[in-house]
């Protein structure tokens, strides 16, 4: 039978192909004990983690912009929620 880590690594690649980065990150975590000494694995895992962090940051900035715009639309801007 295939080892869980082997399955997880390939499932991570599959998830990356489908642009499901959160799932890929989870599969990389499962596979890391067996593959952590492989450079290509470490690069893909780190890049995926960085991409998720960037996406989260973008989400937060865009959401705060919406809140500010909503406050402004009611007239004089009195407070910022962030």
């Amino acid at each position: 039978m295939l080892a869980d880590a082997e399955k997880a690594y390939f499932k991570a690649l599959e998830a990356l192909k489908n642009r499901d980065y959160a799932a890929a990150s989870g599969f990389f975590k499962t596979a890391e004990n067996q593959f952590t000494d492989r450079l290509e694995f470490r690069i893909l895992q780190a890049t995926t983690a960085l991409l998720l962090a960037v996406k989260e940051e973008i989400f937060e900035i865009e959401n705060s912009r919406i809140e500010i715009e909503e406050i402004s639309s009611y007239g004089k801007e009195t407070e910022f929620r962030r």
Partner: protein, 214 residues
């Protein structure tokens, strides 16, 4: 605003990088999907489920793997080990299963030969295993089966029920031993195991054609 633009550029760059990195692995990904499917078939085979149709389709769809010169060593080894597992669980009493067993032999002849298990086989050919070694091998095989059991994490009674079904359906005596072992363990922990003992005895009688004395 500038920060958001910078982040979006970085997002695009990272996505492109990951996309290209995965593209270079596409061939391996396709191989993996084939191996993963074969792994599912092997697991079902170990559970005593009917796999002939799926195995036949797998051979038909993956025939080109035999001529693929770019396969990695671990991929060849994984396929070989899975085919070996499937073949060892086969009951080639019918023509269809016999044909599939022959196809596995054909793959072995083409170089899809198990690497890890070959060592054990050679040892077996040159020196007969002692009864202690045989027992250790059996325990190892049982542990591997439980490790990959779909019911892993479920109550032991659920696992026992599944093992008894396999014991009934398959020729491999390992399932009978494993069922007996689980039953004894549960009895040691105060569970009432009468119905399971009855089932196991019925299976044993069925397999020995009613000639079993004890």
């Amino acid at each position: 605003m500038a920060r958001l633009e910078t982040l979006k550029k970085l997002e695009t760059t990272l996505e492109k990088f990951l996309g290209r990195a995965v593209d270079t692995e596409t061939a391996r990904l396709e191989n993996f999907q084939s191996i993963d499917l074969l792994d599912d078939i092997a697991r079902d085979s170990m559970k005593g489920r009917f796999i002939n149709n799926r195995l036949g389709s797998w051979f038909a769809r993956n025939n080109e793997l035999l001529s693929n010169k770019n396969m990695k060593e671990f991929e060849i080894s994984a396929i070989a080990n899975l085919l070996n597992d499937i073949q060892s669980a086969m009951d080639p009493s019918d023509a269809e299963t016999q044909k599939l067993a022959e196809e596995i032999d054909h793959w072995k002849e083409q170089g899809i030969a198990p690497k890890r298990k070959l060592v054990l086989k050679m040892k077996g050919e040159t020196a007969e295993l002692s009864i202690t070694e045989k027992f250790m091998e059996l325990l190892k095989k049982e542990a591997e089966l439980l490790e990959f059991d779909p019911n892993k994490g479920e109550h032991l009674l659920t696992i026992l029920d599944d093992v008894l079904k396999s014991a009934d359906a398959k020729e491999d005596p390992m399932f009978v031993h494993l069922a007996a072992s689980i039953i004894y363990f549960m009895r040691m922990h105060g569970y009432k195991v009468g119905p399971f003992v009855k089932r196991l005895k019925e299976i044993e009688l069925k397999k020995t054609g009613g000639s079993h004395a004890g």
